[in-house]
Structures are given as structure tokens and as C-alpha cells.
């Protein structure tokens, strides 16, 4: 084929659309049938295009083939037809309408997102299913992202699909009264999906970036829809923009993490920062302050490289608020770092010792950092403890560099 990247690209963008539209039509019980038809369509494309060349409008070609395959499936499979066609109103097998208009594709994907992020399904499985069905990720890619094997992922997805069936999850937009609760779950899943990409230990840089971009795309879909365009959804998108603006700066050529203060800010993506600011403004309507508002605001201040007391005081107060509504060890450690910048190292050391996160290597790394210049012996001791607890070689290496700097 002349364009070797075309098919994978189309798979990424079109697989989810075909699957969502078909599954919406068939019902969640037949998610696998929808997936099979979508996969078959791409197989047909591969077989045909290899010999006959790429059609003028590849997407239209895929849709036409998918429609035909779906219709064939209806007429071939009598039981399927009997069961399903009852549900597909006013249709007989051969006249079945498969609506692949932009609007319907968008609606089906959104409804699918709500179905896959149903509260009955474990968070891990929600992420896995979303990656598979709405992001077109392969099983081995998902396995790589989760640092596990294909078998585990296959089992997890299988169980999740079973659950969708037994819980009789509908592919539909939740009602007005339910939407906030359900949207909460969806948003949490997308937040975790993004974090999976951003913080994953996986060495596959391209895959990790893809994960982040896909999460952003799905959030963007929510922002684009009137019913789901809530301030906290905008806040999450803003947060993702700010974080991903540093994607290229936070790892060096050897794949090691580059700490914030050592980052080359010319590598920060300013277009994404501008977008982040835009969505942060959008998020500031309404009176409810969510964790995403606070985190996006923190991330905003981090896009300003210059150290000012205003910057660190703001970050400290935002962490103070964030911890009150959503505690996490990493937020507690970051808060203490901001405290040292705003109120001084002595106060921060006292507060840090109360945190008691003694199984966390970042805890000792923070203590090492705080003691540096105050009590270097203590600093080195803490850094050494951090190395002992660190899980990856690149983390150990990074902390060792801190010790070397003190000993110089």
C-alpha cells in the first residue's frame, strides 16, 4: 500500500465509531458481534486495498462495507435476527437502517462511554473497555500500558462484558436526574485513563502519549455536548492540557524523568497551555469547586516557571483545599513542598515528619530535599532510604544524583 500508516490510523478513528453505532443498534448483549463486524470490515479493507489500491474516500468505503456486513449478519443469523429485530423498531431484516451520520456517530459514542463507565463495572475494567472499544487499542497495547499480559486483559474485558450483560446496561444517555452521578464516574475513568498514560512506568513513550491524547479526546467529546458540558468537565480538560504541555520536557533522551525545576521550558507546548487557560476560564462558571478545578489551578501555576512568593502561596492554598476534599499521599507530599517554598524549610520539615508515609520513596526524597542545606547528613540519610524504596532504576539514579550534588 502507498500509505502504510493509513490503515492503523483509520482503525484508531473509525473502529470505535462503527462499533458504537452497531452496538447501539444491536444492544449491549451483542457488543462482541459489533466488535467482530467492525474488525471484519478492517480485514476486508486490508485484503481489498492491498490489491486494488486505496479508494477515494476510505472512510465511506469502510462504512459501506460495515453496513453490508451488518445486514448480512441479520439475514444469515436467524436467531439473532428474531431477537434483535424485535428490538429494532419498524425494521425488517433487509431494510434495516444503519445510521452512520456524524451526529449519530457522536451520540452513539457518548452513550457507549456512559455504558462502559457504568458504576457496576470495576474501574480497571472501565478503563480497559474504553481503551478497547472507544479508543481502538489492541489487547497487547492495553497489556503494555497496564504492565501486565494479554491473558489478564482478555479475562478482565471478558468479565466486564459479562457484567454489562447481566446488569442489562443500556446504551443510552442517562436521564436528567441521573446524569450528574453517572457523569462523575465517566469523568473519574477518563482522569484515570489520562493518568495511566502520564504516569505509567511503561517504556513505550508513543503509547503513553496516545493514551493521554485519547483521554483528552473523550473529555473533549463531553465538553462538546451540551448536556455534559459542565464546569468540572472543562476543569478536567484544562488540567489535561496543562499536564500534557510538559510531556516532552519531563523525560530526557534516556527515558528518565526530568524534575520540574530542571525542565527546559522551551520544550513546553505553549499551544496546550493557552488551551488549558481557555478551558480553565470556561470551568470557572458555577459555584461548585471540584477537585479538578483545584488541580487545574495548581497545574496552571506550574506553567509559570519563575519562582515568586505569590506562586507558591497560591499553590499551597490550593493544595490545602484539595487535601480537604480529596486526600492522596502525592498531594500531601506536594503540599509540603509548596509549604517549604511559601513558609520556609524549617516549618515544612516539621510538617513532613507528621505525614508518616514511610513506605513511599517520594516521602524520603522530599525529606532529603528539605534537609538539603539545613542538615546535609540528614538529607543524605533520607535520600539513601528513598533509593532503597524506589522501584525503578531511573528513580534510583535520579535520587543518587541529588546525593552526588550534596557531596560535591
Amino acid at each position: 500500500m502507498e500509505q502504510p500508516d493509513l490503515l492503523p490510523h483509520l482503525f484508531r478513528t473509525e473502529y470505535r465509531k462503527i462499533t458504537s453505532v452497531l452496538c447501539k443498534l444491536f444492544g449491549i448483549d451483542h457488543l462482541e458481534t459489533a466488535e467482530d463486524i467492525a474488525s471484519d470490515t478492517f480485514l476486508a479493507a486490508f485484503e481489498t486495498w492491498t490489491y486494488k489500491g486505496i479508494p477515494a474516500n476510505p472512510t465511506a468505503w469502510l462504512y459501506a462495507v460495515a453496513k453490508n456486513k451488518a445486514k448480512n449478519h441479520f439475514s444469515r443469523n436467524a436467531t439473532f435476527t428474531d431477537k434483535i429485530v424485535q428490538q429494532v423498531k419498524d425494521s425488517t431484516p433487509l431494510e434495516i437502517e444503519i445510521d452512520l451520520s456524524d451526529q449519530n456517530i457522536m451520540d452513539c459514542q457518548l452513550q457507549m462511554l456512559f455504558a462502559l463507565c457504568h458504576p457496576a463495572i470495576s474501574t480497571e475494567a472501565q478503563i480497559g473497555l474504553s481503551l478497547r472499544i472507544l479508543c481502538g487499542f489492541g489487547i497487547d497495547e492495553i497489556a503494555t500500558a497496564f504492565l501486565t499480559n494479554k491473558e489478564t486483559i482478555n479475562k478482565r474485558l471478558f468479565r466486564a462484558k459479562e457484567k454489562l450483560r447481566t446488569e442489562k446496561v443500556q446504551i443510552e444517555f442517562p436521564g436528567e436526574d441521573e446524569i450528574d452521578k453517572r457523569l462523575d464516574t465517566v469523568v473519574t475513568t477518563l482522569y484515570l485513563l489520562f493518568s495511566e498514560g502520564y504516569y505509567s512506568e511503561s517504556q513505550n513513550e508513543i503509547l503513553r502519549k496516545d493514551l493521554c491524547l485519547e483521554a483528552m479526546r473523550l473529555v473533549y467529546m463531553l465538553v462538546d455536548n451540551e448536556q455534559t458540558n459542565k464546569p468540572y468537565v472543562c476543569a478536567l480538560l484544562s488540567l489535561m492540557c496543562f499536564h500534557s504541555s510538559r510531556f516532552d520536557a519531563r523525560k530526557n533522551d534516556n527515558g528518565e524523568i526530568v524534575l520540574y525545576e530542571d525542565q527546559d521550558d522551551s520544550l513546553w507546548n505553549h499551544e496546550l497551555i493557552t488551551k488549558g487557560v481557555y478551558f480553565l476560564h470556561k470551568a470557572s462558571q458555577g459555584s461548585k469547586i471540584s477537585r479538578y478545578h483545584l488541580e487545574a489551578n495548581i497545574a496552571y501555576w506550574y506553567t509559570i516557571k519563575t519562582d515568586t512568593s505569590e506562586k507558591w502561596e497560591n499553590i499551597l492554598q490550593l493544595y490545602n483545599k484539595l487535601l480537604q476534599i480529596e486526600y492522596s499521599p502525592i498531594a500531601a507530599l506536594n503540599r509540603t513542598y509548596a509549604l517549604s517554598k511559601a513558609n520556609g524549610k524549617h516549618e515544612a520539615i516539621k510538617e513532613a515528619e507528621k505525614l508518616n508515609l514511610t513506605s513511599n520513596h517520594y516521602y524520603f526524597a522530599l525529606l532529603g530535599e528539605l534537609y538539603t542545606g539545613i542538615d546535609d547528613k540528614q538529607a543524605i540519610q533520607n535520600f539513601k532510604q528513598a533509593i532503597k524504596l524506589a522501584k525503578t532504576e531511573s528513580d534510583k539514579h535520579l535520587i543518587q544524583k541529588k546525593i552526588d550534588k550534596i557531596c560535591k
Binding site: 499551597l316 492554598q317 493544595y319 490545602n320 480537604q324 510538617e351
Partner: protein
């Protein structure tokens, strides 16, 4: 893990402070609460503004504000998680309200709704 309420008592709630002083207290209070939250020991809390406050007495007599007959007023509270009263007292000791002479923080265990307490 039990919950304890820390009740801030001001000796004289009508004392007027300068805006700078209020600003400084606010920061200290936010940092103090943030420190408790950073240990995952924060459960809730609120300030109690003096504006729009009434006291209802025996026989439904209503008076303005908690001032006048009672000099001491409650300025706010936080609820913390702690393994013991001593741990809760440890949190209370850091409360910026205590910088005011005559002010106090009352530490009280919150009854569990387990039918025993």
C-alpha cells in the same frame, strides 16, 4: 479511629482586628487545616460568622447574636480523625485561635451512631 470536634472559643468576639491581621490569621488557619488534611485526618469544619446570629432562650425569647450576656463566643470548628483524645489535643495545640489571650479550643469526642455511645 474516632472523630473529635475542635470548637474554637473566642474570649471576646467583638474585638476588631486590622485587615492585615485578619489576612494573617486566615493564612495560618488554612495552613493549619491543610496540615491536618495532609495527614488524612481532616473530616470537616466551618467558620461561624457573627453576622446574622441570634440566641434563642427559655420561653422562646430571642436576642441578637451570641454577644451581650455571654461574652465568650464560638468562632468555628473542625472535625478531625484521631486514634485518641491525646492525638486530637495535639491537633488542637496548633490552632491559630490560641494565639489570642483567653481564647480556647474545646476538644470533644463525637458519639458514634453504633447504639452504644
Amino acid at each position: 479511629m474516632d472523630e473529635f470536634i475542635l470548637i474554637f472559643r473566642h474570649e471576646d468576639g467583638l474585638k476588631v482586628a486590622s485587615p492585615e491581621q485578619i489576612q494573617a490569621w486566615m493564612k495560618q488557619t488554612m495552613d493549619w487545616i491543610g496540615g491536618i488534611a495532609a495527614q488524612n485526618k481532616f473530616s470537616g469544619g466551618n467558620g461561624l460568622p457573627f453576622a446574622d446570629s441570634k440566641v434563642v432562650w427559655h420561653n422562646n425569647v430571642v436576642t441578637n447574636g451570641p454577644f451581650g450576656d455571654i461574652k465568650e463566643t464560638i468562632g468555628g470548628y473542625v472535625i478531625v480523625k484521631a486514634d485518641s483524645i491525646d492525638e486530637a489535643v495535639g491537633f488542637a495545640k496548633g490552632c491559630p485561635v490560641l494565639q489570642g489571650d483567653g481564647n480556647s479550643v474545646e476538644v470533644r469526642k463525637i458519639a458514634k451512631r453504633d447504639g452504644i455511645h
